[in-house]
């Protein structure tokens, strides 16, 4: 959803008449999609990578297994920030995806492998500031890496 930039008076939030959910299924915050335009673009990029991946004999296998893209989406669901620069995605031989958030001199680069392993590299001016392995479910560390790139940590 396009962020409201009106400087007019705040409107009272109208509550829908159906305000309770009897569902016991759990999934990432659906409301994030509406407030975070970067997320929708990111998901489309991942989908395109998965659909377009090819095996180039002699160069490398750039097909993306569904396990890799699922892990990347779980990573994205841990980033609860509405306004972000669009991340970029690229495939790496062996079925991995590199996801990079760039803000000025800083990059947070996540390399996601089909095994579920996630390596995060924090770069400043192209130089490695730190590297670490993390779990895609680790919301605090995933989000902190992005906040670092944004200069907010």
């Amino acid at each position: 959803m396009i962020a409201a930039v009106s400087t007019g008076p705040m409107l009272e939030r109208v509550q829908p008449s159906y305000a309770r959910s009897p569902s016991t299924s759990l999934f990432a915050s659906a409301s994030l999609f509406e407030s975070a335009p970067w997320l929708n673009d990111a998901l489309s990029q991942i989908h395109d990578l998965e659909k377009g991946g090819k095996n180039y004999p002699g160069i490398g296998d750039l097909t993306i297994p569904p396990e890799t893209s699922a892990t990347v989406r779980i990573l994205l669901s841990q980033i609860n920030l509405p306004l972000l620069p669009r991340p970029s995605f690229s495939s790496v031989s062996g079925g991995a995806i590199v996801m990079k958030f760039t803000a000025g001199e800083r990059d947070a680069e996540f390399t996601v492998f089909p095994s579920g392993t996630v390596i995060v590299n924090l770069l400043e001016g192209g130089n490695l500031a730190s590297d670490d392995e993390l779990s895609p479910q680790d919301q605090g560390r995933v989000q902190n890496a992005v906040l670092w790139a944004l200069g907010r940590l």
Binding site: Y18, T24, S25, L26, F27, S31, H47, I74
Partner: protein, 266 residues
């Protein structure tokens, strides 16, 4: 097996959870521990439990002695989930509500049709009423019954881009075209309609989400809700029957024949 309630039947339906529920005025004298006493009665059917915050408005006040009352009822309102061995069927219980769910669980085959779920709900509801009687608690003053079907359309299966929803959903859902806009990038909506027979309302909510298994989905929730004619179980079940017909009928009307083929309509 009686299947008079089957309006449409699919081999591989997109439904992931169904809920039959009833909400009532908070029961006077009913406390959180009663949920445990009720669980004891049905524990052979539902051997596991989870505790969650209740559905609906939740008001917790901070006072001089810490957390204080929730609408004058209980200091800590809770919802108990009483879960069967398969993890696919459960009862949800809170001070003003009783719900019975079926949910899709990996490794547990089959979708539980309404004509199978209905008698299970009725059996558990009657058990709950008997329990209230045995505990000398008042019978529930029903204010709303609900039927909810939660469907998930998975990217890479039913759809590749949001534009594909132009062929998955019928004209029932308006899609706009103009010289100014091009591809559909995202879709979410919440619509509420009055049921023609005046028995309540029907709501559709579409929301994109990332599922726990990492799949990208559009979730379509269809709910019929309304007040049964009386507090009797007979009237409650009659309302659930009409609510179920409204939900399934709407799903069939709102989704295309092309989509029905994907799901293997019989």
């Amino acid at each position: 097996m009686e299947n008079s309630h089957r309006i449409a039947d699919f081999e591989n339906p997109p439904v992931v959870e169904t809920v039959l529920g009833v909400f009532f005025s908070p029961l006077h004298g009913y406390g959180a521990l009663h949920q445990g006493v009720f669980w004891h009665r049905v524990r052979t059917r539902y051997p596991r439990y989870e505790l969650m915050s209740p559905i609906g408005e939740l008001e917790v006040r901070l006072g001089p002695q810490g957390l204080q009352s929730f609408q004058g009822l209980q200091p800590f309102p809770i919802r108990s989930l009483l879960i069967d061995e398969s993890n696919a069927q459960l009862v949800q219980l809170q001070a003003n509500g009783f719900l019975r769910n079926w949910r899709k669980v990996p490794g547990v085959p089959g979708y539980i049709h309404y004509d199978v779920m209905r008698p299970s709900f009725e059996r558990d509801w009657i058990e709950f009423l008997n329990f209230l009687g045995d505990e000398r608690l008042a019978s529930p003053e029903v204010f709303e019954a609900q039927v909810t079907y939660i469907n998930q359309f998975v990217r890479g299966f039913e759809w590749e881009t949001y534009d594909d929803f132009r062929r998955i959903l019928t004209e029932w859902i308006p899609f706009h075209r103009s010289d100014i806009i091009s591809n559909l990038k995202l879709m979410s909506f919440h619509e509420a309609y009055q049921l023609k027979d005046g028995s309540g309302r029907l709501e559709l909510v579409a929301q994109p989400a990332i599922r726990q298994d990492g799949k990208e989905i559009l979730q379509l929730t269809i709910t019929a809700a309304g007040k049964p004619r009386s507090n009797s179980t007979e009237d409650l079940m009659a309302w659930l029957d009409s609510g179920h017909a409204a939900v399934v009928g709407t799903f069939v009307e709102a989704t295309s024949q092309e989509a029905h083929k994907i799901w293997g309509r019989k």
